[in-house]
């Protein structure tokens, strides 16, 4: 079934994670002449990039006048002026070329009447610039990148769970991974490593993210001594289904879906009398959370009412949404409103990098949701994240290949690294008493939602840090039921939980210190206003020897001075 596999291998460039950013990086590194391999805990097409629906932003100007400058201005404003403007300008300028390349690779984007790429308007954008493939844009990109990977015969270490960066005196020497399918620790040496592991949404119980989004790359970087930037910024999507957290498309509100509270009142009237349900994501999410906090909720949910659509419109236009509600909430939206609440959707923060994905360690790179360039600043615009995976995946791939090809000799890992890793996992596997990871995980998710959700305040965050300390203590005695070698996902889930706990501490610590409200970080009770004088800067969190160190770095401003953000 499985051929014999060397426990050790070596490549120029190793990409951790095989979603859109990882595959794009690997393709570029390969084309730049490097021997590249991907390491992923999932088969590449199972990655969460595939769940992105709306589309990918580039100022092509196909559907109306547009320019990279306008795209940049919208992104800067959307970021609540926390995005680094040099990165944003570069991103917007390079985005169109990447779209054309994806099209030539075979991406099946929707077309307009002239056969050109169709573009639609998205929230926060001053022009229709989102290229799309129906409501499966991410899926289509993921497939086409995988096709290009196969065309180049790039090696993929599939279902390998990378769990440690091995850092020596001259930089990173590679990673240790657990081979899920066969069991055993693998030492993968590399001259350069690119982290592309995606987001961390599973830190929250209500999240649109897949089970796999456990922030592995961020936590690995943290443990290797790298700083994580702007971790306090998590985007919440206003309509996620209760209890599963699955995304209910914004199109429901676009087509006239109503948000109601327990009294049957259209509460958006009080928060955004003009735009009502169609106000921007953060505004609606905050309105909903206020209703919940003030007790006008139905078991922690608000109601999204689409009964007035009628059978015909429902089946024709919202077949998918109805199916979602029937399958996951047991509710037919033709007969009953569906329960929704704000859910964690996207992590703006991540491993601090420059515009080439380079981190503080010269040969460690990061791209995609795991990274913080910073493109999104305090708030991401819809359609920018898929584009980010492509632009910065490509740039990181190119830079990593150049870096690797400059390093002489072959990559190698000290044998002791693998032995240490094996010993550590053996300790975990030999434990016969303790607590199952699921209980700790569930408490983590619920408490983060409660104390570090849409709204934050000093007391709640302090409580959360205490609670996290308790959860981390309990995690020291976590019990893995499965002691087998073959497909031991129980072990992997326990390791993931360790990552999540570390990340949560960093997120809350950074949030506590950011004494202002900006973008997705909202503190209405203690610091309701944006404070450019003191906080127009990025937070940086490091962790060494169980000591958390928080520092700040300035925001790069090129053209756009901070202004009040109104829509």
């Amino acid at each position: 079934m499985y051929g014999p596999e060397d426990v050790e291998s070596s490549h120029d460039v190793l990409v951790i994670g095989a979603g859109c950013a990882g595959m794009r990086a690997a393709i570029e590194a390969h084309d730049a002449g490097a021997d590249v391999a991907l390491v992923s805990k999932l088969h590449p097409t199972r990655s969460h990039s595939g769940a992105a629906r709306g589309g990918i932003n580039a100022a092509l100007g196909n559907a109306g006048e547009d320019s990279p400058e306008r795209h940049a201005a919208d992104t800067v404003k959307g970021s609540d002026y926390l995005g680094d403007q040099d990165a944003i300008e570069l991103f917007c300028a390079e985005a169109p070329g990447d779209i054309y390349q994806l099209e030539r690779w075979g991406a099946l984007f929707d077309r307009d009447d002239e056969g050109r790429l169709a573009q639609r308007a998205f929230g926060g954008a001053g022009a229709p610039r989102t290229v799309h493939a129906a409501d499966v844009s991410g899926h289509v990109l993921l497939q086409v990148l995988y096709e290009q990977l196969l065309a180049r015969e790039i090696r993929v270490y599939e279902e390998y769970f990378a769990w440690r960066l091995v850092v020596g005196a001259t930089g990173c020497d590679g990673v240790l991974a657990w081979d899920l399918a066969r069991g055993g620790v693998r030492a993968l040496a590399a001259k350069a490593v690119i982290l592309a592991t995606g987001g961390s949404g599973r830190v929250y119980c209500g999240s649109t993210n897949a089970h796999a989004c456990t922030g592995d790359g961020m936590a690995m970087a943290l443990r290797a001594g790298l700083p994580l930037e702007d971790l306090e910024f998590v985007q919440f999507h206003p309509t996620t289904l209760v209890p599963s957290g699955l995304l209910v498309t914004e199109a429901v509100r676009g087509e006239g879906g109503l948000l109601l509270n327990a009294k049957g009142e259209r509460f958006m009237r009080r928060y955004a009398p003009e735009a009502m349900e169609l106000a921007s994501r953060d505004v609606v999410a905050r309105a909903e959370q206020t209703e919940i906090d003030e007790g006008r909720d139905v078991n922690g949910s608000l109601l999204l009412d689409m009964r007035h659509f009628g059978r015909e419109k429902m089946i024709e236009r919202f077949h998918g949404t109805r199916d979602l509600a029937l399958t996951y909430a047991g509710i037919d939206p033709l007969e009953q409103p569906i329960p929704v609440r704000p859910g964690a959707h996207y992590h703006m923060g991540g491993v601090a990098t420059d515009v080439d994905g380079r981190s503080e360690i010269e040969n460690v790179f990061a791209a995609g949701e795991v990274a913080c360039v910073s493109l999104h600043g305090a708030n991401r615009l819809g359609g920018n994240s898929l584009m980010e995976t492509i632009v910065f995946g490509r740039r990181a791939g190119r830079a990593a290949a150049e870096q690797a090809l400059k390093r002489s000799g072959s990559a190698g890992l000290a044998p002791s690294a693998r032995v240490d890793g094996e010993r550590e996992l053996a300790r975990l596997l030999e434990r016969h008493q303790g607590e199952r990871p699921s209980r700790i995980r569930d408490e983590l998710g619920a408490s983060m939602h409660e104390n570090f959700g849409v709204f934050r305040e000093e007391g709640g965050m302090r409580r959360q840090l205490e609670l996290l300390e308790n959860l981390r203590e309990r995690y020291r005695h976590v019990l893995v039921d499965d002691r087998g070698e073959i497909f031991n996902s129980d072990l992997v889930q326990a390791l993931e939980l360790g990552y999540q706990l570390d990340l949560a501490v960093c997120m809350v610590s950074a949030g506590l210190e950011r004494r202002e409200s900006r973008g997705a970080h909202s503190r209405p009770k203690d610091f309701p206003a944006r404070d450019d004088e003191n906080f127009l800067k990025h937070s940086l969190v490091r962790w060494s020897n169980d000591w958390l160190d928080l520092s700040w770095k300035p925001v790069t401003i090129t053209k756009w001075q901070p202004q009040r953000r109104t829509y």
């Binding site: 099946l108 096709e147 699955l246 979602l324």
Partner: protein, 347 residues
């Protein structure tokens, strides 16, 4: 809600397989995946299964439920356990089991790689440095196929793969059509030649289970039919399967009915058919096949000719001629009803 499930467990070391009964308590909107998660979290952490997105897009969690393949995350469990039924959950078929509900997907990926699953763009693609303009309708031909999430449900259900493990199978052929049908691809003829060989397009037995069970509505059998139609249109029709298909048309056109005894000769060729004479004689004797003479002929040839005329009038060549399954039946109703104009609902 009380849920009782039998889960097929298999030990990766000993290869031993057994059914294990689990009794769970879940909310009424729970999915089958929620059940598996609860087992793993609270009852038995050694249960192995794949999962990630829990919304039917990553394609990880296909399993067989009482023998029918479906995504665990898209299956509300309430329907399964109605009237106290305890369903049996087993790994998907036609792929080797690794452990419990986890199968080795590599054979499926190998077949996908065998169809060179990447676009080979023509020289005039993106000449001005921008996108190649393509009418939206031209891309409709491959839209359904582009929805494939590689879950393996079609492979699990494929009877032809069970009998002939080397058959490329529905999943790889969907990918093949995704490229053959793409107006930007410049390698259509070599692709069709490669796909028309042994274990290719014509090995499908047309059981339609892949269409029936695909969780994304990809309709793999339709993709295979489109490949066949394009191959014949491009005169890549030397394979027995192609000859077999062509004979159906010839027979229907000339006598209105299928002439089974001639079918063998037309498909296998004269030399190979000699070897089948003893079988043919046995079939004739038991009344399982008609004698070659007199020719099998419909009393009235007009309806068959009329049908042919309608199709020809719609100018559907190659893949455009493929309308199948329930949708196809609906379309035939539509075409035949006099108050509706013909051809409004082009595919």
């Amino acid at each position: 809600m009380q849920v009782r499930l039998h889960v097929q467990r298999s030990d990766p070391v000993t290869g031993e397989t057994r059914l294990q009964l689990f009794e769970l308590e879940l909310p009424r909107e729970a999915t089958l995946l929620d059940c598996l998660e609860q087992i793993k979290d609270e009852v038995d952490g050694t249960l192995a299964f794949r999962r990630s997105c829990r919304e039917g897009i990553c394609g990880s969690c296909a399993v067989r439920i009482d023998g029918r393949t479906a995504l665990a995350c898209r299956t509300p469990v309430a329907e399964l356990v109605a009237e106290g039924h305890a369903p049996t959950i087993a790994p998907i078929g036609n792929l080797p089991v690794v452990r419990d509900l986890v199968v080795e997907m590599e054979p499926m990926w190998q077949k996908m790689r065998a169809v060179e699953p990447f676009l080979r763009p023509g020289p005039d693609c993106g000449l001005d440095g921008r996108e190649t303009p393509i009418p939206s309708a031209r891309l409709d031909a491959v839209r359904k196929e582009s929805l494939c999430i590689n879950c393996g449900a079609c492979v699990s259900e494929c009877d032809a793969m069970t009998v002939s493990p080397e058959f490329l199978g529905p999943h790889a052929l969907v990918k093949a059509w995704r490229l053959v049908g793409d107006p930007r691809d410049d390698a259509v003829a070599p692709r069709l030649k490669g796909l028309s060989g042994e274990h290719g397009i014509w090995e499908c037995t047309r059981c339609y289970l892949c269409n029936e069970r695909c969780p994304k509505g990809v309709d793999p059998r339709d993709a295979i039919a489109k490949l066949g139609a394009e191959a014949i249109a491009a005169r890549i029709d030397r394979d027995r399967g192609a000859r077999h298909a062509k004979w159906f048309v010839t027979s229907a056109r000339t006598t209105g009915w299928l002439r089974e005894s001639e079918l063998v000769v037309r498909t296998l060729g004269l030399a190979f058919s000699f070897a089948k004479i003893p079988l043919a004689l046995r079939l004739f004797r038991r009344g399982k096949a008609p004698l070659p003479l007199p020719r099998h002929r419909a009393r009235d040839l007009a309806p068959a000719r009329e049908l042919r005329h309608i199709v020809a009038g719609q100018d559907r060549r190659g893949a455009l001629g493929i309308v199948q399954g329930e949708r196809a039946l609906e379309r035939i109703d539509f075409i035949c009803s006099p108050e509706q104009p013909v051809g409004e609902d082009e595919p």
